[in-house]
């Protein structure tokens, strides 16, 4: 073993996992084949709301390769329960969510039957021909429409389509603040619905072994233990250890692979009933109507300031469209992950928010990258810009004078959270410098009145990630713990396996976690591997979402490693015949202080731990440790993002010209990985502002079935991004780390939206338009505004 002195933490190391991905050797769920495997195809509802009046299995039985057709009745007869909700609120109305519809379908794409055949093509052929009779029912797609008088009822047991009413903050204090306001603005905002669109479609492969009663499920999951818990304990009613869930390489998640889906239940039951492995892999057209969607808020926001431009209060009223069913985290997203973030980075004396959760005949909505925080950030930052424009203040300066100051942490907001640490002004200054902000404003002035106008969006965001501690989230309704586990297994040769309950689906855990371990153990990173994504191998874990892996999973790892080094030091001291206090662990070896040459390597220690020929009295052999880490609080990354757009006023085309940001997620484990996550996040957030839109018609027909109808950002839509960071460690965890996976998305939608609206405000005093800023929408708005101001051209020239 080579001694080493380098520090791995903080280095931009190339990723250990990449060789398999770049050579095509990654193993995603759909790549797995089991002997005798059958294929399932889902028959999906073409109606947003309908009663199923008949399914004629004989219409496909006897077709080539067809083995079975499973309906809702079959699923009920097999004893499978509905898929539960994982976050409860007071008086929450939860309509049953069956794996296969029982009597009624509630959104386009709801599963009506499962066809199993010998090949995928045969299963899809038959699924397309299965005779199903429907009686169409009235349906509704928009949250506010579902609340309207006389609106169609989505579920009989959800009166008025209201799943919950929730509020946070002190309404009296807020009203008082508004009473003494110098100025108020009111903005109506739609945070429209999105499809997460991981490039790997979801897939599941189930195998039931009748002899042992054990199930194996390969599935595209961000949190295999959560899937195991729900499927075993709530749906199938079997002991957890009878179900092993493996989530191998997963091709992106962005939230959409957290949740418990119908198809996983279907393939598990089909495998049990048919005695063979059964695989299902989504077509992209299925992903559009079956992956949980994101966002979909209609809000009214009012902001009050005093004569000096100091913020006095924010009033928010939001209708959150939850879709047809309440899925795993759905009730948490527009409440605790949104309402509690409405304070942003500002010193608000008062904030009050009301949220109405509404069911509609649309695909369910749950956490999508950022989950509640992008919605909060968009609302605050858009409203702040409207106010800055109204006040005639520079938007960046308006933010600066309202920031919470570094000496005010920990900071109690009026909406429940206590921020751990923060220093917002340096990030703003750096971002403005990076983008040469005064030059941009001068250019904007020069371009005024031309056909290429400029807009600059400056936003300062804060996010809460590493949801915790478990006792608190339990009080708030979570039916889950929010700790993480790690197991460190040292082999006799000194090679090390790390096991984590968090899951990597692009985040680079296989590199970042060994970086933490290599420094703690003082051994080369090549000797360390990370194992994840298999409930058969991990102690337990809650998975990867909400930017929790580094702060919670990484901290659990650090604690397990500390147990290893503590024991290793004892063994080394014993072997060196020295007292433990006299042994130092540095540069890759355990050494007796002041006695050069008196040393033991990590290999020496690991070998003796396993040979156990000479260990301290009473010590157990082996070198293995497990830690379970439950954080004391959330962590609160923050930053400033600046977007620059150019708008062609002749065509309405918006071009994102430059983008720069300064993020603070505490110390970086691997800057290359952190920066990559910021890049991807910016692209997804900009996608919402400019192109992406999960549009339904009024009856709940989803208007996109392929990427032809749903625009995700492509390479030539985006510029290169400028990134930088400040470092404000979290005092709460042993690594001081926060989280970065969602920051880009949380910030960039608001930044790009503000840039577009900044251009339109400066050009023609348009205060607000809803996203996405399609060319037609922007062109029409400019045209109407110019006509209104007497600057328009004749209608037909």
């Amino acid at each position: 073993m080579t001694d080493r002195t380098d520090k791995y933490m903080g280095q931009a190391l190339k990723r250990k996992e990449d060789p398999r991905f770049i050579t095509g050797a990654g193993q995603y769920t759909d790549d797995f084949v089991l002997p005798g495997m059958l294929h399932a195809a889902m028959v999906r509802s073409p109606y947003a709301h309908a009663r199923i009046t008949g399914i004629d299995k004989s219409s496909v039985e006897g077709m080539p390769g067809v083995v079975a057709v499973l309906t809702g009745e079959d699923v009920a007869a097999a004893g499978a329960g509905p898929i539960p909700v994982g976050w409860l609120l007071p008086d929450l109305k939860v309509p049953p969510h069956h794996a296969v519809a029982q009597g009624e379908v509630n959104h386009v794409g709801d599963i009506v039957a499962v066809v199993v055949a010998e090949t995928r093509a045969q299963a899809e052929d038959a699924a397309g021909l299965l005779a199903v009779d429907y009686e169409a029912l009235p349906s509704v797609a928009l949250g506010s429409a579902a609340l309207g008088e006389g609106s169609p009822q989505v579920h009989d047991d959800v009166p008025g389509n209201v799943a919950f009413r929730w509020e946070i903050g002190d309404e009296t204090a807020l009203n008082e603040a508004f009473n003494r306001a110098h100025k108020t603005v009111k903005v109506k905002l739609r945070n429209h619905r999105l499809v997460p669109n991981a490039i790997e479609p979801r897939a599941s492969l189930a195998q039931f072994s009748p002899a042992s009663g054990e199930y194996l499920l390969y599935t595209t999951s961000q949190n295999p233990h959560i899937h195991r818990l729900i499927l075993a304990a709530f749906v199938l009613n079997i002991p957890e250890h009878k179900l092993r869930v493996i989530s191998p390489d997963v091709g992106g998640g962005f939230g959409s692979k957290i949740f418990q889906y119908q198809e996983e239940v279907a393939v598990l039951l089909a495998s049990r009933l048919l005695g063979k492995p059964v695989k299902w892999a989504a077509r992209r057209s299925e992903s559009f109507v079956s992956d949980m969607q994101g966002r979909d808020h209609e809000s009214e926001a009012e902001l009050a300031v005093d004569a000096e431009g100091r913020m006095l209060g924010l009033r928010v009223n939001t209708v959150a469209n939850l879709g047809a069913y309440l899925t795993l985290f759905a009730p948490a997203v527009p409440t605790y992950l949104y309402g509690t973030l409405l304070n942003g980075v500002y010193k608000f004396p008062a904030v009050h928010a009301k949220v109405t959760g509404v069911v509609t005949n649309t695909v369910p909505v749950d956490a999508y990258r950022g989950a509640g925080r992008p919605e909060a950030t968009y609302l605050i930052e858009r409203t702040v810009d409207v106010m800055a424009h109204e006040l005639g203040m520079d938007p960046a300066e308006f933010r600066r004078i309202n920031f919470i100051q570094p000496d005010e942490f920990p900071y109690q907001t009026p909406v429940a959270l206590v921020y751990d640490s923060g220093n917002y002004e340096p990030a703003l200054d750096m971002a403005l410098d990076m983008m040469k902000y005064p030059d941009l404003r001068a250019e904007q002035e020069r371009r005024k009145g031309t056909n290429k106008i400029l807009g600059i969006g400056v936003i300062s965001y804060l996010e809460a990630c590493g949801l915790a501690p478990s006792a608190l989230v339990g009080q708030l309704g979570a039916q889950a713990g929010q700790w993480e586990s790690s197991l460190v297994r040292v082999h006799p040769t000194g090679k090390v396996e790390l096991y984590t309950g968090s899951h990597s689906h692009g985040q680079g855990h296989e590199t970042a976690f060994p970086q933490i371990a290599a420094d703690e153990l003082q051994i080369p990173i090549e000797d360390i591997d990370l194992i994840h994504g298999d409930t058969g191998r991990m102690p337990y874990g809650w998975g990867t979402y909400g930017s929790r892996s580094a702060a919670v999973g990484g901290s659990a790892l650090k604690m397990a490693l500390q147990k290893i080094t503590a024991k290793a030091r004892k063994i080394a001291a014993h072997l060196l015949e020295a007292s433990e206090e006299d042994v130092e662990h540095a540069d890759g070896v355990f050494r007796v202080k002041g006695a050069p040459g008196q040393q033991k390597t990590f290999f020496d220690v690991a070998l003796m731990a396993h040979l156990a020929h000479s260990l301290p009295d009473g010590m157990e052999p082996g070198l293995e440790a497990t830690a379970f880490y439950d954080p004391k609080n959330f962590v609160y990354p923050f930053g400033t993002h600046v977007a620059v757009v150019e708008i062609d006023t002749d065509t309405g085309v918006v071009k994102l010209r430059n983008y720069g940001c300064v993020d603070d997620c505490g110390p970086l484990i691997n800057p290359l990985i952190a920066e990559g996550q910021v890049h991807g996040g910016i692209a997804q957030g900009a996608g919402q502002a400019l192109w992406e839109d999960a549009a339904y018609d009024e009856e709940g027909n989803f208007l996109a079935g392929t990427f032809m109808e749903y625009a995700v950002p492509r390479a030539d839509d985006l510029p290169n991004f400028q990134t930088d960071h400040t470092v404000t460690p979290s005092p709460h965890n042993p690594l001081g780390v926060k989280g970065i996976g969602e920051a880009g998305t949380i910030a960039s939608t608001a930044a790009v939206a503000n840039a577009v609206m900044d251009a339109l405000w400066h050009e023609c005093r348009i205060a607000h338009l809803d996203m996405p800023y399609t060319s037609e929408k922007v062109w029409r708005a400019i045209r109407e505004a110019r006509q209104g101001a007497g600057m328009g051209q004749a209608a037909d020239d």
Binding site: P19, I22, D30, D249, H679, G680, Q684
Partner: protein, 163 residues
């Protein structure tokens, strides 16, 4: 129907349904799972392979159309021990995260570099617009292609000097 396709230098003869797509032939009949299916409708580019040297989306080509032709997949481009400069470039510049779009992205970029050894950023972005990536924001993909292009030009120059 019987088809014979030479994939990564090796001829394979199989009996396929006429409707079998090349991507399914590669993945299911030959077990070459590096070529991925992301959208079924030829937008995302995760299934890009080379057919007689041209980059094609293998979800748009029937296996029978490839009869008698040469296919190169990501598995045939380079190995872990001997990476193609593009594979090395994607690794070096962190041009991937989940890795699902990466094989298609690399195969598409390989065609670009065959025609244009020194592409501008705009050219790279334009050429890759048929390959969707949801993780990287494309920033590092552009850097990866530029890195590979420089390495390939250097290699070319070295070979020319040796001649």
């Amino acid at each position: 129907m019987n088809v014979t396709v030479t994939v990564n230098g090796k001829a394979h003869t199989r009996d396929v349904e006429p409707r079998t797509l090349l991507v399914h032939f590669l993945r299911e009949d030959l077990g070459l799972t590096g070529t991925h299916v992301g959208c079924d409708t030829s937008q995302c580019g995760a299934c890009t392979v080379h057919l007689n040297g041209d980059a094609v989306k293998s979800c748009t080509v029937l296996a029978v159309q490839a009869d008698g032709m040469e296919v190169t997949t990501i598995e045939g481009l380079g190995t872990a021990a001997d990476l193609h400069p593009l594979q090395a470039g994607f690794w070096e510049k962190h041009g991937l995260q989940c890795g699902f779009c990466t094989p298609g992205m690399i195969m598409s970029a390989a065609e670009l570099l065959r025609h244009d050894p020194d592409p501008s950023e705009a050219t790279i972005r334009h050429h890759l617009e048929g390959n969707y990536c949801r993780c990287t924001g494309y920033h590092n993909i552009v850097l990866a292609v530029q890195h590979a292009a420089a390495a390939m030009r250097e290699r070319e120059a070295g070979q020319a000097a040796d001649d």
